[in-house]
């Protein structure tokens, strides 16, 4: 790390406006060779816009983008890649029907008239070995889990000999072990002299990786720091602009009568023989690795997947085969995949908000006034910040999308709410708001199930914790027995492994 080194890629006094609204106000920002520069800020602070400008996807309204001190010679993502500036997006840029190898060599295939499959496969294998990845070069992207796709993206960037690598929340979709591999890889790239931009909402990752930190708030740089100058608390405070008290609400739930009783519940092919109970006014956390069957269990409960087993609401056996039947029994599920399963990104806030409760808004003719009234209420109750209320939901920031999804799910006033990854990809300020909503639900006597990969979240919110492993219930913890070590032990299945993987679950 050499602070005197000339920047490889630099923004000078960059401003960006969309229509009449300026969203970046004079940003100075530089990436240097052999350095990891973390860019942090709340959702909507302007991180994505800065990354898009650096990567050549959009042009600044004013200001300069400099590569090696000269105006950047590219105005598209493809030209930027050719110049060695590679962006790894949160939504991956991979062709799902092609194989890993075909994706990595896409546009630069080896061979003259005929493709040299063997050489490309060997090259791919070498890259994947370098990444300690078990992915096969011939696997189709479609068949790979999200975490493996991320590895393929990194391999692709390596294959393109990136000088500047811009990573948009790469760890958000990775499991613990994979995050470790990612970090090792980032260390290696840094040692090779690559300039890296890293964003994450997990501040402990920033502490661990970043040589330099830039904090954004509302489109302006509010803090610059070198490694060690800023604590995680300090980062959070700088991002939010106010002191953050404990972001978790105090636990004070008094669990009431039984709301749901599940016995011998199976969701083929993964979840087997799960039994648990849920009381009124309690928050039940479900922890476990990605792929341990948490989401499958939840989707089985609300009728999104075929399931078998015994389920009782208030002592009466219920059978649920669809989300509608679940809603009729007072159950609602908030998906972890808000962009693909939660919200219609090309529709407005109003159309999204009322979609699952449309029969309440008039029959046979819908009352737009009542829908608008519901939206006004939701915007106020859930603090949804939208520049315009008739905008498309896809243009909202992630945090506001999540608040809208929460408002939509709660519009049916369910007795039992299952929230899958309530705060994935969301800034710390919005997180604490969502925790407060969850807390308020429990205080009102509703039952909440929180599925989360975020350990502090599980520990901070839950009255009881269920841990899943390989599709089965590995254990249950309550009250004093809820601790990070206890949960991690159950998650990993062994005490030894647990000791090695302390943070991410």
């Amino acid at each position: 790390m050499n602070t005197e080194a000339a920047p490889v890629l630099e923004l000078r006094d960059v401003r960006k406006s969309f229509g009449p609204i300026e969203i970046l106000h004079g940003i100075d920002f530089a990436l240097r060779a052999g350095e990891v520069h973390a860019l942090i800020g709340e959702n909507g602070a302007g991180k994505s816009t800065i990354m898009k400008i650096l990567g050549g996807f959009i042009e600044p309204t004013s200001g300069e983008v400099l590569l090696d001190g000269r105006p950047a010679p590219y105005d598209s993502g493809a030209e930027a890649e050719a110049a060695g500036v590679v962006v790894i997006h949160q939504e991956f840029n991979l062709a799902p029907d092609l194989t890993v190898s075909e994706n990595i060599w896409l546009g630069r295939e080896l061979g003259r008239v005929f493709l040299d499959h063997r050489a490309m496969r060997a090259g791919t294998q070498a890259l994947l070995d370098q990444l300690d990845s078990h992915v096969r070069p011939d696997a189709r992207i479609r068949d790979l889990p999200v975490s493996d796709r991320q590895m393929v993206e990194i391999a692709k960037a390596l294959a393109r000999k990136a000088r500047v690598l811009i990573m948009d929340e790469p760890s958000a979709v990775l499991t613990n072990r994979e995050v470790e591999v990612l970090f090792r890889q980032i260390d290696r790239l840094r040692a090779q002299g690559v300039a890296l931009l890293y964003t994450s909402h997990r501040l402990e990752e920033v502490t661990r990786l970043a040589d330099r930190i830039t904090v954004l708030r509302d489109g302006a740089v509010v803090r610059r720091a070198m490694r060690g100058e800023l604590t995680e608390d300090g980062m959070a405070t700088a991002m939010v602009g106010r002191d953050l008290q404990d972001i978790y609400p105090a636990k004070r739930h008094h669990a009431g009568e039984l709301a749901l009783e599940v016995r011998g519940f199976s969701v083929p092919p993964l979840v087997e023989d799960v039994s648990f109970t849920l009381k009124r006014g309690e928050v039940l956390g479900i922890s476990g690795l990605v792929g341990s069957g948490r989401t499958e269990l939840a989707e089985g409960l609300v009728g999104l997947r075929p399931a078998s087993g015994d389920m009782r609401r208030g002592g009466v056996r219920v059978r649920i085969h669809s989300v509608r039947e679940a809603a009729a029994h007072g159950m609602a599920y908030l998906t972890e995949d808000r962009k693909e399963r939660g919200l219609l990104l090309d529709k407005t806030l109003r159309e999204n908000l009322t979609l699952s409760t449309l029969p309440r808004f008039g029959a046979p003719f819908l009352s737009t006034e009542r829908e608008e009234a519901a939206l006004t209420r939701a915007i106020a109750d859930f603090d949804i910040r939208a520049p315009r209320r008739d905008m498309r939901v896809g243009n909202l920031s992630g945090g506001n999308q999540q608040k809208l999804l929460l408002a939509k799910t709660l519009l049916s006033d369910p007795e039992i709410v299952i929230i899958d990854e309530p705060t994935r990809g969301i800034d710390v300020g919005t997180k604490s708001q969502i925790y407060a909503f969850i807390d308020a639900l429990a205080a009102k006597g509703k039952s909440v199930i929180v599925i989360s990969s975020d350990m502090p979240e599980i520990l901070g919110l839950s009255d009881r914790v269920l841990v899943m492993r390989h599709g089965r219930l590995a254990g249950e913890l309550a009250g004093e027995r809820i601790s990070e070590t206890a949960v991690v032990r159950l998650v990993m299945g062994t005490a030894e492994e647990a000791a090695r993987e302390p943070t991410h679950v």
Binding site: R324, L344, D346, A386, R389, K408
Partner: protein, 331 residues
């Protein structure tokens, strides 16, 4: 920022350029037609154009719902021919028992609607229950209906009994307040379609499913039932169109309704409905239908270009409409 969002949108808002585009094209065509031929705006010609638009129009309104919810139906043209064949054969067969009279016509109409409902139900069930791509399902049924009507006609023409034809004729040739029945029925269908698309749950669900069927499923929408309903509705409208069409010629053959499916789909697309679904415009479809029949009419009246080139011009317009849509989404 959130203050602006708290205020409900008020006041009149102009429709976007994408909605105005087809309408402008339609107005241009009318002006062009009036300029080229004095007879263009005569009541006779206007009635002729609108009445001929009506069949495709009713089908295209139904098609709008199918496409909006992410589906497609290629079978409507041959379905119309098949329904016409069945309807005429049934009426001829019932003639000795019932005699020439209004009841016979009514039974014929009921049979047409019933056949349309069943045909749409078949398409819809294959799409939703057997999980076959709508393109494949309706490509298959398109061939089936077409060959069935050819078989029923034994390769020739199925003709309605002459006496019945005389009684049935006014359904196409007569009207109310000087407006032909097909035009009236088409107008009613269009208005009902517009209301259903914009102001009922059914329309909203169609758009939601076409926009992202997974989100719809997770939002407690009965995706399969809505999809099925769109095909059934389209089948019924094909039946209705056939009811208005049969009195025009009084016969059906293997070439009845040829290429109607493509005209209907083209009208929907020209009208601004997204082919990939999620966004439906019934008014746009009506405009699209009128544009297509006006081009036909102007070419015949104006004698500038050979009417044989009608298809070429329609094709250019369809491609142009999609190019303009793309431009809009890219911006």
């Amino acid at each position: 920022m959130s203050d602006a969002a708290l205020r409900p949108a008020t006041g009149f808002r102009l429709p976007g350029l994408s909605a105005l585009g087809p309408l402008l094209a339609l107005i241009l065509l009318v002006v062009l037609g009036a300029f080229l031929n004095d007879n263009f705006l005569s009541q006779g010609n206007v009635t002729n154009v609108l009445a001929r638009s009506a069949f495709i129009g009713m089908i295209a309104v139904g098609m709008t719902f199918v496409i909006t919810s992410g589906g497609l139906d290629l079978s409507v043209g041959s379905m119309a021919a098949f329904i016409a064949g069945v309807m005429i054969l049934a009426m001829n067969a019932l003639l000795p028992a019932m005699g020439v009279g209004v009841p016979l016509i009514l039974v014929g109409m009921a049979i047409a609607l019933g056949a349309g409902l069943l045909a749409g139900l078949g398409n819809g069930l294959l799409v939703t229950k057997a999980h076959i791509e709508p393109f494949i399902v309706t490509l298959g049924t398109m061939g089936i209906f077409r060959s069935l009507v050819t078989w029923l006609a034994d390769g020739g023409t199925i003709s309605l009994d002459f006496a019945v034809r005389q009684l049935y004729r006014p359904v196409y040739y007569s009207g109310l307040f000087g407006i032909a029945w097909p035009i009236l029925v088409f107008a009613l269908v269009a208005i009902a379609g517009q209301v259903a698309m914009r102001h009922t749950r059914f329309g909203r669900y169609c758009e939601a499913i076409g926009s992202n069927d997974k989100v719809a499923l997770y939002s407690a929408v009965n995706v399969d039932r809505i999809r099925l309903l769109t095909y059934v509705l389209l089948g019924l409208l094909v039946g209705l169109a056939t009811i208005m069409y049969v009195p025009r010629l009084g016969s059906a053959s293997g070439s009845t309704g040829m290429l109607w499916e493509l005209e209907a789909i083209a009208a929907v697309i020209i009208g601004g409905t997204a082919l990939k679904g999620g966004y439906g415009r019934v008014w746009g479809t009506v405009v699209g239908v009128l544009i297509l029949s006006l081009i036909d009419n102007i070419l015949i009246l104006a004698d500038l270009v050979s009417p044989y080139l009608n298809g070429t011009i329609q094709g250019v317009i369809i491609v142009l409409a999609v190019v303009l849509q793309r431009r809009k989404t890219a911006a």
